[in-house]
């Protein structure tokens, strides 16, 4: 860390290097089929266009290089930018890819630890400016019914005040609350958060899932249907519990 000797009248340094943690999505690639990559990127981003707009990300080529799929960084970057995403780093690239990335002013990160690459000593000390840690805790609130064929993706929690029809699909990286009848498919903790839960007023779902552990309608017992329940994971088993406990 270096300090600038010039100071402003109120004794604050004009600039200062600080260490700070950011949570940035990593785009892991396991193919060099640029057309397929572009298609899938477009599909994914269309799920939540607002979330993905101008989203910074780090390109991860560990798997693709292990599979000997050589990816041209210039072409890949163009595709990623076209979908509205902003690549801000590369990791797991080979020599040639790293050079290509630097030519495009994209920094290289080491595979082991992205956050502390520039300042390994900082690893031991607690983060000095915790308020700058970016975590997406935004909650999506929906008051309109979710109809058959509609898909909703929330990057944080998802709260729905209206019904979710059968044939509809709601997904959240965090918890899902449905203050009405849930007839469609609901997946909480879709990025692997095993602490995520689903709450609903009236369970008639086609499928429920927490962090990839799912139950289809057929497997949901009659004793928990048509009533307010919460759904959570316990030892990798999906528990469906009455919200109103009778003592």
């Amino acid at each position: 860390m270096s300090k600038n000797s010039n100071e402003t009248p109120n004794a604050l340094p004009i600039l200062e290097f600080k260490s700070s943690n950011f949570s940035v999505p990593v785009l892991a690639l396991s193919s060099n089929d640029l057309i397929a990559i572009q298609q899938q990127l477009q599909e994914k981003t269309s799920l939540a266009p607002e979330f993905f707009k101008n989203l910074p990300l780090v390109i991860d080529l560990q798997i693709s290089n292990k599979l000997n799929c050589n990816i041209d960084i210039a072409a890949l970057t163009t595709i990623i930018r076209k979908t509205g995403l902003l690549p801000i780093g590369l990791r797991g690239g080979n020599k040639q890819q790293n050079k290509q990335a630097l030519d495009l002013l994209i920094p290289i990160y080491s595979v082991n630890n992205v956050a502390t690459v520039e300042d390994p000593q900082k690893q031991q000390t607690p983060n000095p400016t915790p308020e700058t840690v970016i975590r997406d805790t935004s909650t999506m609130l929906i008051t309109q019914p979710i109809r058959s064929g509609q898909r909703i993706y929330a990057t944080g929690d998802l709260i729905i005040m209206a019904q979710v029809s059968s044939g509809a699909e709601i997904m959240a990286e965090g918890n899902i609350h449905v203050y009405n009848t849930l007839r469609g498919r609901a997946s909480a903790g879709i990025q692997g958060n095993t602490d995520a839960r689903i709450f609903c007023f009236d369970l008639q779902a086609e499928l429920i899932s927490v962090a990839g552990n799912y139950k289809v309608s057929e497997d949901i017992e009659a004793s928990v249907r048509n009533k307010p329940v919460q759904i959570y994971l316990q030892n990798q088993a999906l528990i469906i519990q009455d919200l109103i406990q009778h003592h």
Binding site: Q144, P145, I146, R147, S148, G149, Q150, A162, Q163, S165, S166, G167, A168, T181, R183
Partner: protein, 269 residues
């Protein structure tokens, strides 16, 4: 200000064209200048139901392509001089319609008409999409059975996400439920969903229930919208629906079975 009404359902054979013809006639009979457009290019039916099939010269696609003017293509109804029909082309397919072309025609009609009723084709493809795209109000025609209800739900999702109003973040399309081919006796036997079941699934404002009725088939065969058959149950149901749409209070009918023996004997058929 003119209002564009789309009559839609997702599923075929539920009574969209019958409903389009009936409500267009009902609105016109109440003195509102009304146009009804057949969006089912390639499977033209509305002209038959309206009894004007032998007067079709130009059609919707001709107007879009600039081969005819709107005034040349519009057919004035023989029963009501406030009602005009714009027939679909039978020889083309739905790709002949374009969003821009449809928008232009609707804008032109809006200058002259109070209500524009768009009779949507079945499905959720281009024809159905264009029929609902510019709508202000949507009449969702549903039969009391699960597949029809699900398709209606799907269509409601499309209305709330793919319409012009949705795309431009305007006030959403007003959605109304029309439950057609309803038979209280069969509901009682458990062969049909009840009004409550359908409303529970769709959570939509019920504009009216149209009973399963022979009069509908008779009306179609004779090319007279069923609403003109004022003695028939279906005709009365549509009359109620038009009144309710125009803001009048009408108690719901045709939901409960006729209980008494005498009512069965002497009641409306």
């Amino acid at each position: 200000m003119a209002r564009i009404i789309v009559v839609t359902s997702g599923k075929g054979g539920v009574g969209k064209t019958t409903t389009s013809a009936a409500i267009a006639m009902g609105l016109a009979k109440r003195g509102h200048k009304t146009a009804v457009i057949d969006f089912d290019v390639g499977l033209r039916n509305l002209d038959l139901i309206m009894g004007c099939e032998r007067r079709v010269v130009y059609d919707f696609v001709n107007v879009i392509n600039g081969e005819a003017t709107l005034n040349q293509a519009l057919i004035r109804d023989k029963n009501c001089n406030q009602l005009y029909i714009l027939p679909a082309s039978q020889t083309r397919d739905k790709d002949a319609l374009s969003q821009e072309g449809v928008g232009k025609i609707l804008d032109e009609l809006k200058k002259d008409f109070k209500y524009i009723v768009c009779d949507s084709p079945a499905g959720i493809e281009k024809g159905a999409h264009l029929a609902m795209y510019y709508a202000d109000d949507a009449f969702i025609v549903t039969n009391p059975e699960v597949s029809s209800v699900r398709d209606s739900d799907r269509m409601l999702g499309i209305l709330s996400s793919k319409s012009r109003r949705a795309e431009q973040n305007e006030e959403p399309i007003k959605e109304y439920l029309l439950l057609s081919r309803y038979s209280p006796d069969r509901v009682k036997l458990g062969e049909m969903l009840s009004v409550e079941d359908v409303q529970d699934i769709l959570s939509l404002h019920l504009l009216g229930v149209i009973p399963e009725s022979k009069s509908v088939l008779n009306a179609s065969n004779s090319g007279m919208p069923v609403i003109l058959d004022e003695k028939s149950d279906a005709g009365q149901a549509y009359a109620d629906i038009v009144d309710r749409y125009l803001g009048e209070e009408r108690p719901h009918r045709f939901i409960d079975e006729d209980k008494g023996f005498f009512r069965k004997l002497f009641g409306v058929k």
